[in-house]
Symmetry: C2
Subunit: 230 residues, 2 copies
DNA sequence: CGTGTAATTGAATGCAGTCAAACGAAGTGG
DNA sequence: CCACTTCGTTTGACTGCATTCAATTACACG
């Protein structure tokens, strides 16, 4: 709802929580069987191609989901934050992780062992429905992302990323967000240098401002126009 | 299982059927409430941004799922064939279609009205599980596709597409498959001209052959190498 | 204060897209 | 049956966006 000009929902990283359907009892059961992990910025939560141990609930911090490229370059396709769960796709499809997850900030996660997860899922059909709905929704978001990657140039993708990141970091008006150029360029799907050049242009054009490495949007309307969406 | 050198499963279009869990009774119920549609090559099954009416079961033929780009160019991200269902994501997420579907060949589909689908889903938890598993699996495939698009060049993506298409069309050794350059280029994510040039190169290098517009793989090992995967 | 990492800027290369035109196949109507 | 049209495919030439390599500047941290 940040901006009615931007087709927000379909392009957003944001996902509804599927954990609302849990009863008091189930929450208690989960809490008793959960391991709390405190992770530092940069640490990997799980690695691509490994076997899922359970489900991760993010309690604090921001997380990136990415796939490793040939040259060691990361392809970041999803950002998750407090309240979201990660690793549920692979748990459900009973396949190895198709991607890796790592911490963008210091993070606190709860690891729910897979037996616990499946026990709850077995009885809680409401949660099953929510999961189904959630995954199906993410699918639509993913299609949008994929299309953006295929059909927009670096300048447009960068503009889109800035709006999505502002929303993701949940910053208000007159607030900026901070992300490394490397992570940012891996979200946009370009090189660090190309991103830097585009950011430079945006600054010159008066659509953003960069202070202490934080990005501030100064002209949202113009930025949305640059996205060239719809 | 076409070729052990190619990391087949994770990149394939192929998806398990979720319809196996249906009982005799349920199949009868579906058949009584189903509309059979006969569609010509090129016809659209459903349009992006419209409201789902139901679920489509493909009885005969091949179907492309795609999203429209700015310039009217299609971005094809999934191919489906006999036995598969399409439109289930949007039905489950209760959102408008996030993509369009059209016929690559003449097609026969069964349209199962959404009430019928939901009635069955309500009682058949096994099918719900299978759907969940299916969508979660497709998600992994999708991540792979997205990564390929982001990190491989046109030559590599073309090679990958040829192997996937051979598998999709289910042709044996010494058999070719036929697809228009336009559709093919929209799968690869490039222009028609660029694809043609790459195909020309592949032919000269002896990895494929083109006869009567059908593509034959003549040196799979070399083709896999060109993919530059893993 | 020095050292390593991140960010920025410059220069050069090349991949792939666009535009334009030729060619081939298939279908239409006179 | 042939001229005509239309559509799909192919090839050529040109252009430009974005990557890569290289060098410099800014910044964080011990």
């Amino acid at each position: 709802m940040i901006n009615t000009l931007f087709p927000y929902k379909r392009y957003s990283f944001i996902n509804d929580s599927v954990l609302e359907s849990l009863s008091e009892e189930e929450i208690k059961y989960i809490e008793e069987n959960t391991t709390v992990l405190k992770l530092k910025k940069g640490q990997v939560i799980f690695h691509e191609d490994t076997t899922p141990m359970g489900l991760y609930m993010i309690k604090e911090g921001k997380v990136k989901k990415y796939a490793m490229g040939l040259d060691g370059k990361e392809h970041i396709f999803y950002l998750a934050k407090e309240g979201e769960i990660i690793g549920h796709h692979e748990l459900m499809s009973k396949e190895p992780y198709s991607s890796s997850s790592a911490c963008l900030t210091d993070v606190v996660v709860n690891l729910i062992p897979k037996q616990v997860f499946f026990t709850i899922l077995k009885n809680n059909h409401d949660m099953k429905d929510k999961l189904l709905k959630s995954v199906a929704h993410e699918f639509g978001v993913f299609i949008s992302n994929s299309r953006i990657l295929a059909q927009h140039n670096v300048r447009e993708r960068s503009a889109i990323s800035i709006i999505k990141l502002k929303e993701f970091f949940g910053v208000g008006i007159d607030e900026g967000f901070r992300i490394s150029r490397k992570d940012h360029s891996n979200i946009v799907g370009t090189s660090v240098e190309s991103l830097v050049r585009v950011l430079h242009d945006f600054k010159e054009e008066g659509v953003i401002n960069i202070m202490e490495n934080s990005i501030f949007i100064t002209n949202m309307q113009k930025l949305v126009k640059i996205c060239n969406l719809i």
